[in-house]
């Protein structure tokens, strides 16, 4: 009696989990399928697979709609930003966890508070600052905004990792005559390696997917990022009705995150959980 009830419960749980997973898989499946159809069939034959795989949609998106150069923009801006974010956040996080500064607690709070500020509040002043140093509509300006707005979260995440490294490590390094900077670069950074890798992955994904800041700070066409290009295409839909290009663009945006997910999802999940639970 009990075992049959347990069995029934198990089937229900599996059923629910499978249903949810299918809904996730559908996002990928349907977007990819739609990207290979033609504008005529994409909605009329929603439930059918395309008879011919129209890879031409991708070529058109990449060349005519400039998605190739948008991808390059995204890649350059995002990777530069991520590198700088890590270089700036690592010492900050380390200092916040280790140094016996008088201002340690207020400083930590100060950074965490940065996570809670509504980004929209900063749009206007940031725009003002960037236009005075004429960095509006420039990839550097966008990278600067990306970097600053990502620092609070990254510092928060990294402190979670530095806290777990025992203090004896530094003490023995100091006894062996290792200076503070060398201790940091030679010992602490490698020890916090998993955390740094997590921070790199998360920041890359977040900035790759970001389109609102790009929408505000990139006013021209040349320096659009890939997500912004896709957003513009979608927002202009009522004029163009070029559906399949939108789906091809969606697939282009998904590809890097999908690759990261397939290769690194376990590592990413382990890193996020380790960093947020102290």
């Amino acid at each position: 009696m009990i075992s049959s009830r347990a069995k029934f419960g198990r089937i229900i749980s599996h059923g629910f989990l499978v249903l949810w997973s299918v809904s996730v898989a559908m996002l990928l499946f349907w977007t990819i399928v739609a990207s290979l159809k033609t504008n005529k069939t994409v909605f009329r034959e929603l439930w059918k697979l395309p008879q011919v795989l129209n890879f031409g949609n991708y070529l058109r998106a990449l060349s005519e709609l400039n998605f190739a150069s948008y991808s390059l923009n995204s890649l350059l801006i995002v990777s530069t930003s991520v590198v700088v974010i890590i270089i700036v956040s690592c010492p900050a996080a380390y200092a916040l966890t280790r140094m016996n500064m008088r201002w340690k607690n207020p400083l930590t709070l100060f950074y965490v508070a940065g996570m809670g500020i509504p980004v929209q509040l900063l749009f206007i002043p940031l725009f003002k600052i960037l236009s005075t140093i004429s960095l509006v509509d420039s990839p550097i300006g966008l990278a600067v905004v990306f970097i600053t707005l990502s620092i609070p979260f990254t510092v928060f995440l990294l402190t979670g990792f530095f806290v777990t490294i025992p203090a004896e490590m530094e003490e023995s390094a100091a006894i062996d005559g290792c200076g503070e900077f060398r201790t940091f670069y030679r010992i602490m950074v490698p020890m916090a390696g998993p955390g740094i890798i997590t921070a790199i992955i998360i920041n890359f994904i977040l900035l790759w997917n970001e389109y609102v800041l790009a929408l505000i700070f990139i006013t021209g066409k040349t320096y659009r990022t890939l997500s912004l290009g896709l957003y513009n295409l979608y927002a202009a839909l009522q004029y163009s009705s070029d559906w399949v290009s939108i789906f091809a663009g969606s697939v282009l945006v998904i590809i890097p995150t999908l690759i990261i997910f397939i290769l690194l999802s376990e590592r990413l999940i382990a890193g996020i959980t380790a960093g947020s639970i102290k």
Binding site: T148, I269, T273
Partner: protein
């Protein structure tokens, strides 16, 4: 330094602007004191946006946390494929908001020919076959579901990690003494993940109140008023294409109300959940 110049200074600057009437193009800013804030009290669009922000925070939050707990319970019941399910449920969280907006807006919710409508048609559920998911009356609910669907995985993985740290012997002892699942959940699991839960709730508060990307993209070129939240309304008043004069002072005042909302929520959660941390 960078943080100071591009983060702290703008915040203070924003506070200053919120006391002015300023269009952004001219040098002149007219000091009008608290007038922007008084105007908010009478602005019905702002009231609607505030209501949506609270709905997103509370209903969306309830959906996410109930589902996350449900999933964690199912996955911890010794089911096979725990890691695979967990990864799949997490996946939408790392997909670009624009892509979600396109997929849900064009394929799933699309009226008449969308996946949902035709699915209900196939299942012969007449009431839902013609249901307009993105009509103005329903769009907020539809978006709310997408928000929950996207976010639940993130809260699930952290909740699961928190639960993994609870020593198994506590559960064994409870089962030996004949405790049922509900009792175990409320008396063991919930108290012992309180710390993690606090962090997650605060994190959700931060993200819900300032959520923008998905909602804005969902609305297409001009998001309908029905999905405006504080964050969207701020953007439309400040930058939107609808108003030729950019009301930057007014927009930052909205931002400050939002910031105060976040602070109240954070303090509240911390008060409610602050108790001694259980040693185990």
């Amino acid at each position: 330094m960078l943080y100071l110049t591009f983060f702290v200074y703008p915040t203070i600057e924003a506070l200053r602007i919120s006391f002015y009437k300023w269009s952004g193009f001219s040098k002149e800013m007219e000091f009008i004191g608290l007038h922007n804030f008084v105007r908010l009290l009478r602005d019905t669009s702002f009231h609607a946006a505030l209501k949506n922000t609270m709905l997103l925070l509370l209903v969306g939050g309830a959906g996410i946390f109930v589902l996350a707990f449900l999933f964690s319970f199912l996955l911890n019941s010794g089911i096979r494929g725990k890691k695979i399910y967990r990864s799949i449920i997490f996946f939408p969280y790392i997909v670009a908001p624009v892509v979600h907006a396109i997929y849900w807006g064009l394929l799933v919710y699309s009226p008449r020919k969308g996946i949902l409508n035709s699915l209900f048609g196939l299942l012969n559920i007449k009431a839902l076959e013609e249901f307009a998911f993105v009509a103005h009356d329903h769009i907020f609910g539809s978006v709310l579901f997408v928000v929950i669907w996207i976010n639940v995985g993130f809260y699930l993985i952290i909740l699961l990690a928190g639960m993994d740290r609870i020593p198994g012997h506590l559960y064994e002892a409870a089962r030996l003494e004949g405790a049922n699942e509900g009792y175990i959940f409320f008396k063991i699991t919930l108290p012992l993940v309180r710390e993690v839960l606090t962090i997650l709730l605060v994190f959700w508060g931060f993200n819900a109140i300032r959520m923008f990307d998905l909602l804005y993209a969902f609305g297409g070129l001009l998001p309908p008023r029905e999905i405006w939240t504080n964050a969207i309304y701020l953007y439309i008043v400040g930058f939107g294409k609808r108003d030729p004069i950019f009301q930057l002072g007014y927009a930052t005042a909205i931002g400050f109300v939002t910031l105060i909302l976040i602070i109240i929520f954070t303090v509240l959660i911390r008060r409610l959940l602050r108790r001694e941390i259980y040693e185990y």
